[in-house]
C-alpha cells in the first residue's frame, strides 16, 4: 500500500513542529526518515500513522484519507512500533504478541488458528521463538525491541511505521532488524539516527530539518557532504567507492 502526505502542518500551542510536509512512498518501499533531534521525525510518523491529527494537510494510505478511516480498520492495515515501549504489568512475551491481534478480533471472539499462526510466525521472524513464555520484564532492551517488532508483524499490517527501532540494539541486531524490515513485503517508514544504516537499508531517504523536508531521494542523492554540514552540522567524508548507490559516511573528529 502506498503512503502519501500532502502539506502536513502540526504543532503544539504556538510552536510549529512540522510545516508543509509532503511525501510519497510506493507499495513495498522502505523510506528512511532522518534528521537532527527535534526535527519532527517522531511527530511525522505519528501523523502518518493516524495517532495525531494534522492541523492542516492530509495523510493518505492507499489513496484513502486516514482521518476518515475508523481506528480499528486503520490498525488492521497499519502497525506502529514506538521506541522504548514500557509497562509495569507482568506480561509474558506471548501476551504482548497476542495484543498485536487486537484489531483483528471482535470483542468476544475466540483465539483462531490464524491468530495463532500470526503470533508464532512473527516470533520466529525476529528470532525469539524460544522466549514465548518468558516474562517481558526480564527481557533485555534489545529483546524488548524485537518483541515489539514481532508484535507489529503479528498485526499483519500492509504498512509499518518504526520510530528508531534500532535503539538499544547491538550492531548484529541492528542489522538483523533492518534487514528484516527491508525484506518484508510491506511498505515501511523508519525513523533512524544512524545515517550509515539508513544508507545501507533504505530505498529512499527523507531528511527533515526544523520541521521541513530539505531533501528526499536515493541514499546516494541525499547523503552529501554539504547536506551533512548544513543539517547535522558535522564534517564528514562521503565515500561512494564500495557501492555508488549506498554511500558510506566517515565522520571527522574535527
Amino acid at each position: 500500500m502506498s503512503v502519501v502526505a500532502s502539506n502536513l502542518v502540526w504543532g503544539v500551542r504556538r510552536k510549529t513542529i512540522l510545516s508543509d510536509v509532503s511525501l510519497s512512498v510506493a507499495q513495498g518501499e522502505t523510506l528512511g526518515l532522518i534528521g537532527p533531534n527535534g526535527s519532527g521525525k517522531s511527530s511525522l510518523l505519528r501523523l502518518l500513522a493516524g495517532l495525531k491529527r494534522p492541523q492542516s494537510g492530509r495523510a493518505l494510505i492507499n489513496g484513502q484519507d486516514i482521518a476518515t478511516v475508523p481506528r480499528r480498520k486503520l490498525a488492521q492495515q497499519v502497525a506502529f512500533v514506538q521506541q522504548n515501549a514500557a509497562t509495569d504489568t507482568n506480561v509474558s512475551v506471548r501476551d504482548v504478541l497476542r495484543l498485536g491481534r487486537t484489531p483483528h478480533r471482535s470483542a468476544l471472539s475466540g483465539w483462531s488458528a490464524a491468530d495463532e499462526a500470526a503470533v508464532t510466525g512473527a516470533l520466529a521472524a525476529v528470532g525469539m521463538s524460544g522466549h514465548s513464555a518468558q516474562a517481558w520484564q526480564t527481557l533485555s532492551g534489545g529483546e524488548r525491541q524485537r518483541v515489539h517488532i514481532a508484535r507489529a508483524l503479528a498485526q499483519a499490517p500492509r504498512v509499518m511505521f518504526l520510530d528508531e527501532p534500532t535503539n538499544h540494539l547491538d550492531i548484529q541486531h541492528q542489522i538483523e532488524i533492518l534487514r528484516l524490515v527491508r525484506d518484508l513485503d510491506l511498505t515501511s517508514i523508519v525513523a533512524l539516527h544512524d545515517l550509515n544504516l539508513a544508507a545501507m537499508f533504505c530505498d529512499r531517504i527523507l531528511v527533515l530539518h526544523a520541521g521541513r523536508v530539505v531533501a528526499c531521494g536515493s541514499p546516494g542523492e541525499v547523503l552529501t557532504e554539504d547536506l551533512l554540514r548544513q543539517v547535522f552540522r558535522v564534517e564528514a567524508e562521503v565515500s561512494l567507492s564500495a557501492d555508488p548507490a549506498r554511500p558510506h559516511i566517515r565522520f571527522r573528529a574535527g
Binding site: R71, K73, A75, Q82, A86, D88, S92, W111
Partner: protein, 346 residues
C-alpha cells in the same frame, strides 16, 4: 502451566477457579447469615432461604426465618456485590491509569460522596426529600465531574488524571471538614465518621436488587471492553496504534467506575482497600489479561467482603466494627504477602 489462551486452553483453569470461588462465596454467605448475636443453625438458614425463594415450605420459627431472610441474607448479598463492584472498579482503573496504586477512590469519588453525605446529615440540605444516599451519590458524581473537567475530559494522560483526582479529593475532604467543624456537633461528627468507614447495617432487599443491576451491567460492559483494556498495557498511544478508540473507551469506563463506586458508596459508605488489594490478588492467580482478570476480581472481591463483614460482626462482642477498618486490617497483611511473593526475581 502453559497459558495458551484467554478463551481456550486457559479457560478450564479460569472456570475451575470461578466455580471454586462461587462455592466458597455460597458458604461464606451462609456463614454470614448464620452468625450473629442470635445464632442460627446452617440447616435452618438453608431452609429459610429455600422457603424465601418459594422452593420449600418447611416449618421453621418465624423469628429465625425473618432474621435470615429479611436482615442477614440481604446484608450478606449487598456485601458480596459491593466487594465485587469495588474490586472491578480497582482493576479497571489500574489498567486505564497504568498505576498499581489506583483504586476507586483515586478519582475523588469517596471524598465527594462524604461531602454530599455531610451536607445531608449536618446541613440538612433537602431534609426529608433527599436521603443520605442520594446526597452521597450526588457528591460522588460532582467529584467525578470535577476530575473529568480538570483532566481535560478523557484526553490527557494517566498521571494528569491521578493528579486531578488527588486535587478533587483534597478539595472535597476540606469541604467536609469545614462543614463538620463549623456547624456540626459531636454526635453528628461521629455519625459522619462512622458512615465514612462503611457499614452494611440497614441494607434491605431493594438495595440488593439495585446493586445486582448496577454490578451486572458494569461487569458486562467491562468484559465487552476487556480486549481494549489489555491494549492499554503499553500506554494510551500504543492502544490507539492497536486500533482502540482510546478517548471513547476511557470516557465510558471512567463513567462506569464512577457510577458503580457512587452507587456502592452511597449505600454502604466508603470502604477502602478492597479495590486496591483484590485486583492484585486476582492478578496473581489468573494473570494480567482482563477477560480472565475481571471475573476473577469480582469473585474474589465478593468473597473477601463477605468474610470481612463476618469478622466485623464477631471481632468485638455485641458491637460491629466499621467494615472499612476490617478490610484494611485484614487486607494489609495479605497485600504485604502478595508484594513479597511477586517482587522482581532479579
Amino acid at each position: 502451566m502453559t497459558r495458551t489462551d484467554d478463551a481456550g486452553g486457559g479457560a478450564g483453569w479460569l472456570a475451575l477457579f470461578l466455580a471454586l470461588a462461587l462455592v466458597v462465596l455460597a458458604f461464606a454467605v451462609a456463614l454470614a447469615t448464620a452468625i450473629g448475636d442470635y445464632r442460627i443453625g446452617l440447616g435452618t438458614v438453608f431452609l429459610a432461604v429455600t422457603n424465601g425463594l418459594g422452593l420449600t415450605g418447611a416449618e421453621i420459627p418465624p423469628i429465625e426465618a425473618s432474621i435470615v431472610w429479611d436482615l442477614r441474607l440481604s446484608r450478606a448479598l449487598v456485601a458480596a456485590l459491593a466487594g465485587a463492584g469495588l474490586a472491578l472498579c480497582g482493576a479497571i482503573l489500574q489498567a486505564l491509569l497504568r498505576n498499581a496504586l489506583a483504586e476507586p477512590f483515586v478519582l475523588g469519588v469517596s471524598a465527594g460522596a462524604s461531602t454530599g453525605a455531610v451536607c445531608v446529615i449536618v446541613l440538612g440540605i433537602g431534609a426529608g426529600g433527599l436521603s443520605l444516599s442520594m446526597g452521597a451519590f450526588a457528591g460522588a458524581f460532582a467529584a467525578f465531574a470535577l476530575v473529568a473537567l480538570l483532566s481535560n475530559g478523557a484526553t490527557s494522560g494517566p498521571n494528569h488524571t491521578i493528579l486531578a483526582g488527588v486535587a478533587a479529593s483534597q478539595l472535597f475532604n476540606a469541604l467536609t471538614s469545614y462543614i463538620v467543624t463549623t456547624s456540626g456537633n459531636a454526635q453528628q461528627a461521629r455519625d459522619v465518621m462512622f458512615w465514612l468507614l462503611g457499614s452494611f447495617g440497614g441494607v434491605r432487599w431493594p438495595d440488593v436488587s439495585l446493586l445486582v443491576l448496577v454490578v451486572a451491567a458494569s461487569l458486562g460492559i467491562c468484559l465487552w471492553m476487556a480486549r481494549s483494556l489489555d491494549a492499554f498495557t503499553f500506554g494510551d498511544e500504543d492502544a490507539a496504534a492497536l486500533g482502540v478508540p482510546v478517548a471513547r473507551i476511557r470516557l465510558i469506563l471512567f463513567g462506569v467506575t464512577a457510577m458503580l463506586t457512587a452507587t456502592i458508596v452511597s449505600m454502604v459508605g466508603a470502604i477502602g482497600f478492597v479495590g486496591l488489594v483484590v485486583p492484585h490478588a486476582a492478578h496473581y492467580v489468573v494473570g494480567p489479561m482482563h477477560m480472565r482478570l475481571l471475573p476473577a476480581c469480582a469473585a474474589v472481591g465478593a468473597v473477601f467482603m463477605v468474610l470481612a463483614d463476618i469478622v466485623s460482626r464477631v471481632i468485638v462482642a455485641q458491637q460491629t466494627v466499621p467494615i472499612g477498618v476490617v478490610t484494611a486490617l485484614v487486607g494489609v497483611p495479605f497485600f504485604a504477602l502478595i508484594l513479597y511473593r511477586s517482587r522482581p526475581q532479579t
